[in-house]
């Protein structure tokens, strides 16, 4: 079974190629069959792999399939090799499983669009790249997938290319993540410089000795920082988070797959993968947590005031990934991955049902124009309730609770009180904005006439994800033992129960309070919102704390200024002065050609006088 590992990427890749070359000739059903079927096949293979892995784990807990040598240059010999261990298996499950559901949903969602087969070709390419990312056994291979998903993200965000804004959003997403990628690439160069290899296992083995000196510690700190740079870019954490909300310009299934479930969590994966390096640089590791904590708070505040349904979800994604970073920072490696998984379930669910809502409301995304949809869209409503519950971590019945609670507990147990408190406060924010979203969209008066979708590709993915977002999802435990080190607070007992109770009550409290205010004092809320100070705060939060503005002033405008200054090619102009000078010289010297013989004779005589003088004095 392990031999079939390559199929996990080969099938989607084949799907991509078929769709890319057969475009326009397959028809919508054919394209759907290829696009969804290839990912389905990959999911099946993954299921088989999971079964085998759980039943008969490979030696050493990992299986490596070497496809071919990529290149051999000096001491640099990366292979094209796939490595399957618990971590990548988990990721694989999420990618192909959730990916399959989203593909299925998309085959319904995208129906009637011009670029139907194009859409699936991109999606398949994305899945293949993502599989590369998680299966790569060396960092170069990982980087390969890393960039591949970036490109697919670009393509899919700009899928509706006729609107120039979508193109800009896509470009922004790519370039901002590319900044992070470049940090990561530099990190790889440094790693190679220090260790002479990019093979992940070798890196992890060699690192502790190699960096066991003062300069080594400096180096590993730098490397870890650079890798963190890559991770924050991909995972939309501070300070490279600005692209994610704009990325919502893509079709909603894309947001579900790429910008919620899989790609944006790649940063988490990367840090977990290279955990040894971060452990060797504890201050950077703590920084990871701090980044996560700040992001989750910032995103939480922003989500509170957003009016676009997808943007609310986008900020919530940022915030949830913040939790994962927080977990990584706290050393709760497994908890982070666990949260990654459950988050994939419930956020995919939320996005898909948001998609259902948007489609039902004729591509309307503004929640202020929605309302009272629970009657017309019952499935979507329940999905939102469950997914939102998981997001807010309603105790015990949702998947989100298990993972988030784990994170908070580990943070607490590891002594990271700052992270713990931030997480707790974030939980409150989460429950508030989630409740707000559900209430605004599904309760109140009906403002638009919505059409519910139907068909198996519509409800099946929702149903499956719905189930997974409940406590069922929380029961799935990724087989991460041996891959990631154990966290400090394993098996906490009573203290853990206490934390559970605390976080649960925060979540429920947030929900209740919000609902209460919404149902009983809507006017007071409005009045509060009208206050000038509140307006200012709201605007500030709405703009996600002004990062876009800041970057515009700090980076974009200077760049465009530079471009404008250089656009005439300064060096070309500088060199252009030479012909200009020569032309002047030509004009001047041509004036000496007067055509008058006496003048010629005079120059003759003058030349003679000068030469005689020169010879006399020079001797």
């Amino acid at each position: 079974m392990y031999d079939l590992l390559f199929l996990v990427f080969a099938l989607p890749l084949a799907g991509f190629l078929i769709l890319a070359f057969g475009r326009g000739r397959l028809g919508e059903n054919g394209a759907a069959a290829v696009g969804v079927g290839s990912v389905g096949g990959a999911a099946l293979v993954t299921a088989g792999l999971v079964a085998q892995f759980l039943g008969h784990p490979p030696d050493g807990g990992a299986y490596t399939q070497v496809l071919w040598d990529w290149m051999k240059v000096g001491g640099f010999t990366p292979h094209f090799a796939l490595r399957l261990d618990g971590l990548s298996l988990t990721m694989l499950g999420v990618i192909t499983g959730v990916g399959f559901m989203i593909h299925l949903f998309a085959s319904w969602y995208m129906r009637g669009d011009d670029g139907y087969s194009r859409f699936f070709s991109y999606m398949n390419l994305f899945v293949a790249s993502m599989v590369f990312l998680v299966l790569g056994d060396n960092l170069l291979f990982l980087y390969f997938g890393w960039e591949g998903v970036g490109l697919c993200s670009f393509l899919l965000i700009g899928f509706w290319y006729k609107d120039a804004a979508n193109g800009s959003a896509a470009r922004k997403a790519f370039i901002v993540t590319r900044v992070g990628d470049t940090f990561m690439a530099i990190g790889l160069f440094w790693l190679f410089r220090s260790l002479g290899t990019l093979d992940i296992q070798q890196v992890l083995q060699l690192a502790p000795q190699a960096f066991d000196s003062e300069s080594g510690r400096q180096a590993v700190r730098g490397i870890a920082l650079l890798l963190l740079g890559g991770a924050v870019g991909k995972s939309a954490q501070l300070p490279l988070q600005t692209w994610l909300p704009d990325a919502m310009a893509g079709p909603t299934p894309v947001s579900a797959l790429i910008h919620a479930a899989t790609m944006v969590t790649a940063g988490v994966y990367l840090i977990a993968r290279t955990h040894v390096l971060f452990e060797l640089a504890p201050d950077v590791q703590h920084l990871v947590g701090v980044v996560g904590a700040v992001t989750l708070l910032l995103a939480g505040f922003t989500a509170l005031v957003q009016t676009d349904i997808k943007r609310v979800l986008a900020y919530s994604t940022m915030s949830q990934i913040g939790y994962m970073f927080l977990a990584l920072g706290a050393g709760a490696w497994s908890a982070a991955i666990f949260h990654l998984m459950t988050h994939a379930f419930f956020k995919a669910l939320l996005f898909l049902s948001a998609g259902a809502v948007i489609l039902a409301c004729h591509h309307e995304q503004d929640i202020r124009k929605m309302g009272g949809l629970r009657k017309t869209l019952p499935l979507a409503f329940w999905c939102f309730v469950v997914g939102g519950g998981a997001l807010a971590a309603v105790p015990y019945i949702t998947a989100g609770f298990y993972s988030k609670d784990e994170i908070l507990w580990q943070a607490y147990a590891g002594g990271h009180m700052d992270l713990f408190l931030a997480g707790l406060f974030g939980a409150l924010l989460t429950s508030i904005y989630t409740t707000r979203l559900i209430l605004v969209v599904f309760f109140g008066e009906e403002k638009t006439h919505a059409h519910a979708g139907h068909g198996v590709s519509y409800w099946l993915p929702l149903a499956v994800l719905l189930v997974l977002s409940t406590f069922v999802g929380g029961l799935i435990h990724p087989p991460l033992e041996g891959v990631l080190p154990a966290a400090p607070g394993e098996g906490g007992g009573a203290a853990q129960l206490g934390i559970e109770a605390l976080s649960g009550s925060v979540a429920i409290g947030g929900i209740l309070v919000t609902a209460l205010v919404y149902f009983t004092r809507p006017r007071a809320l409005l009045a509060l919102a009208q206050a000038p100070a509140a307006q200012a705060v709201r605007r500030f939060w709405f703009s996600a704390f002004g990062f876009d503005w800041l970057y515009d002033r700090l980076l974009v405008r200077p760049f465009f200024w530079l471009v404008r200054v250089c656009s005439g090619d300064l060096f070309d102009q500088a060199i252009g002065t030479i012909p200009e000078l020569l032309r002047h010289a030509n004009v001047l010297s041509t004036r000496t050609q007067t055509g008058r013989m006496r003048w010629y004779a005079a120059s003759f005589a003058a030349g003679a006088v000068l030469i005689v003088a020169a010879v006399m004095f020079r001797g």
């Binding site: 041509t590 050609q593 007067t594 055509g595 008058r596 013989m597 006496r598 004779a601 005079a602 005589a605």
Partner: protein, 101 residues
């Protein structure tokens, strides 16, 4: 008192320069040709003077050759003057400055 040979050379130099000046200042091509003759003649004088210094006939032979040249030059030049006067109706050298630049 015996004249130093250098003084003769200097006189020929003065004549030479006077001829040159004639070329530089005259617009009438006839005078220009005359000035050329003066220059040739001064060179001849220098040769003869040098021949005197070394007691050789070579200076005088050069004089004879220069004389030949002067005659040739004058004949060709005067023929040209005639032709130019015919085409340009003037002996002004500045009038014949169509080509420039």
């Amino acid at each position: 008192m015996i004249v130093p040979f250098e003084q003769v050379l200097f006189v020929s130099g003065v004549l030479f320069v006077l001829g040159l000046m004639g070329i530089l200042i005259r617009r009438n091509i006839l005078f220009v040709l005359m000035s050329i003759e003066v220059m040739m003649n001064s060179a001849a004088l220098a040769f003869v003077a040098a021949g005197n210094r070394w007691g050789q006939p070579d200076g005088q032979i050069m004089f004879i050759l220069i004389l030949t040249l002067a005659a040739s030059e004058a004949s060709v030049g005067l023929a040209l003057v005639l032709q130019i006067f015919r085409r340009f109706k003037t002996l002004d050298t500045d009038a014949a400055s169509e080509m420039k630049g």
